[in-house]
């Protein structure tokens, strides 16, 4: 019965990521998509990971599940989930259990994350059977609860095929599938990108509520500083496959140290203020060739560039409790 779920501990679980390297094998050589990322995901908190497209944040998300699609490959590092072990080295069978059961994942392309030939309800059952859930009725009941929580006609959704649902509905079904097995860690990869503004707001609100109710550990990946600032407790900024800055949301918003973070914050449009106050970041993210330069990856776009930025890469280091930055100017002022 429901015991199956209640028996599990509800202490929030954290994650420790150490020196993670992911490369993409292409004709032009190996591209480092995630290059030496280390961070601790605080249990019970919402951690926002922010970066432009191509910054490696989605690859990072897949690497946390040890599911980087080809031609990507994890070459080094560890992803330790509290109570489960290192995702990169644990046995395949256990890893299959951890995926979905301990860590829920909501896709960037949740639009297409459902099997188009099977009704949603059947896919919930397939998920349950794969994780050896005995009481499938209870599972369906919880799926319905979640769907209703998200303001949907649960009965109808479970009997629907993917093509019968709108983008927002599919995204919410994706969230339901990530949560229906009572996962305690939830990774959301750009959960609102494909949605219109209204669905976006309601999906984010649902994420916030469920996070609080269930004492989840949530990782929210987005390119939108506004979304992250609104929801996250902690913020991690990624640039060119490396970490640029991390800290609590208040700290980051109030005292951004990295010029890139400062640019991102300036780029948030404010509904109340005049639109031209939002300043778009100039330049484009580094390409394959630029990733191999010895200097700081951001140097070419940086308004506060120093001569040494061209030649050596600043180290990502702690400059306070839970406060990290990779910038030669990071420790100078502010």
């Amino acid at each position: 019965m429901a015991l199956e779920f209640e028996a599990r501990d509800f202490h929030p679980r954290g994650m420790q990521i150490r020196d993670l390297h992911v490369i993409y094998q292409t004709n032009q050589g190996e591209i480092p998509a995630v290059n030496g990322v280390s961070m601790a995901i605080a249990p019970g908190k919402i951690t926002g990971i922010i970066g432009e497209s191509g910054s490696g944040k989605s690859t990072l998300a897949m690497a946390l599940m040890n599911a980087v699609p080809k031609p990507g490959r994890i070459v080094k590092g560890s992803v330790v989930v509290d109570g489960a072990g290192d995702m990169l080295t644990i046995d395949k069978k256990i890893r299959q259990k951890v995926r979905g059961r301990d860590i829920g994942f909501v896709f960037q392309a949740s639009q297409n994350s459902l099997n188009p030939l099977i009704r949603v309800g059947k896919q919930v059952l397939d998920l349950g059977r794969s994780h050896n859930i005995k009481d499938l009725r209870a599972l369906l009941r919880r799926a319905k609860e979640l769907l209703e929580r998200m303001g949907m006609d649960a009965e109808r959704i479970l009997l629907s095929y993917q093509h019968e649902l709108s983008g927002g509905m599919r995204q919410r079904v994706g969230i339901m599938l990530a949560l229906v097995l009572e996962a305690q860690v939830v990774i959301l990869d750009e959960p609102t990108t494909a949605l219109d503004m209204i669905s976006q707001a309601s999906v984010l609100e649902i994420v916030r509520q469920i996070h609080q109710e269930r004492h989840l550990t949530t990782i929210l990946i987005s390119h939108d500083m506004g979304v992250v600032a609104d929801l996250a407790d902690n913020v991690v900024v990624m640039y060119g496959g490396e970490l640029a800055e991390a800290g609590s949301t208040e700290e980051i918003l109030a005292h951004p140290l990295h010029p890139y973070t400062q640019g991102l914050i300036r780029a948030i449009p404010r509904i109340s203020g005049p639109l031209d106050q939002a300043i778009a970041l100039s330049g484009s993210p580094p390409d394959v060739a630029a990733l191999k330069v010895p200097g700081c990856l951001f140097a070419s776009r940086c308004p506060k560039r120093l001569p040494k930025c061209e030649n050596s890469r600043p180290i990502y280091e702690a400059i306070g409790s839970d406060r990290y930055v990779a910038c030669f100017r990071g420790t100078e002022h502010d």
């Binding site: 004709n27 032009q28 390409d287 394959v288 060739a289």
Partner: protein, 304 residues
């Protein structure tokens, strides 16, 4: 423009060739990249040459030799001889013209009809689309080879053009449908919408904007249609439903199997194998060359 071309990434993407010289240059580079493609090209050129020059190399009526019926392979008869003592090599060489010319005509008819109807049908959505697609469905439904066999009772297949015409007219259905679906998806793209907004003529849009984008598909189909047509025409002659009027590999096959008893007598075997090997080598050449065509016209492959 010059800035973009100097970056390492974009220099790897050859632009759509503007003039013939650069196109031939690119084509040569693509072909020379893999030895298999070179072999394919050589085989195709070899057979083309055979088709053009073949009939001039031998007298109009090939010499027969009653003393060398089913002669084994020798210097004089590199592929042996047939039931009259005629050199099999001579038969193959003189027969190549009909086979290749008919196949080329067939492929041309297939591609022209299929492409034009597909483009028009996909671009002008509406009644013309429904009419064309009805006809296409019909063509696709009629079993092609039995139709050819039946048509052989009224149609004179003696001329390669006539053979090519019938093969083309019965074989364009699949291409038309594929071109239509590609046109449908292309017409929703930005650059086509832009061209329409600019008031460019439909003719220009269809043949200057859309056609180059499906060129690779069409080029592949041209080659595939050639091999398909070769099989079909040789098959028709092999079945013996078409009156024998010219030297043809299919005629050789038919006579070898059903008259000469090549299946059971070893001495007639070269007579059977000669056309079979010619057929297979030519197909091999086309298949090997197809790879180069794919890369040459397919922009997605070039980026990789």
């Amino acid at each position: 423009m010059s800035v973009a071309e100097s970056t390492p990434v974009s220099s790897k993407i050859p632009h759509v060739p503007k003039n013939r010289a650069t196109f031939l240059h690119t084509a040569w580079r693509v072909i020379a990249k893999k030895p298999g493609r070179m072999v394919g090209l050589v085989i195709i050129l070899f057979f083309t040459l055979m088709a053009i020059a073949g009939p001039y190399l031998y007298p109009r009526n090939l010499p027969i030799n009653p003393n060398a019926i089913y002669a084994p392979i020798s210097w004089k008869y590199p592929l042996g001889t047939d039931f009259e003592g005629t050199s099999n090599l001579a038969l193959i060489v003189t027969g190549a013209r009909y086979v290749l010319f008919a196949a080329f005509m067939a492929a041309l008819f297939t591609v022209v009809i299929g492409t034009v109807l597909g483009l028009v049908s996909g671009y002008y959505v509406g009644w013309s689309d429904s009419v064309i697609m009805r006809i296409t469905d019909f063509i696709l439904t009629i079993p092609g080879f039995p139709l050819l066999v039946v048509l052989s009772t009224v149609w004179n297949f003696g001329q390669p053009v006539a053979m090519g015409f019938v093969l083309g007219i019965t074989g364009w259905g699949g291409l038309a449908r594929a071109v239509r679906s590609q046109t449908l998806s292309l017409r929703e793209r930005g650059f086509i919408e832009a061209a329409r907004t600019l008031g460019l003529s439909p003719f220009h849009i269809l043949f200057k904007e859309i056609l180059p984008n499906i060129a690779s598909y069409i080029a592949m189909n041209l080659l595939l249609a050639i091999t398909g047509s070769i099989y079909a025409e040789v098959g028709l002659f092999f079945l013996g439903v078409v009156p024998f009027q010219a030297n043809n590999w299919g005629v050789m096959l038919n006579l070898a199997v059903f008259s000469a008893g090549a299946m059971s007598s070893v001495q007639a075997l070269p007579y059977l194998l000669s056309p079979l090997i010619a057929l297979l080598v030519l197909t091999l050449g086309v298949v090997l060359f197809l790879d180069a065509v794919d890369e040459l016209f397919n922009p997605r492959l070039k980026e990789a």
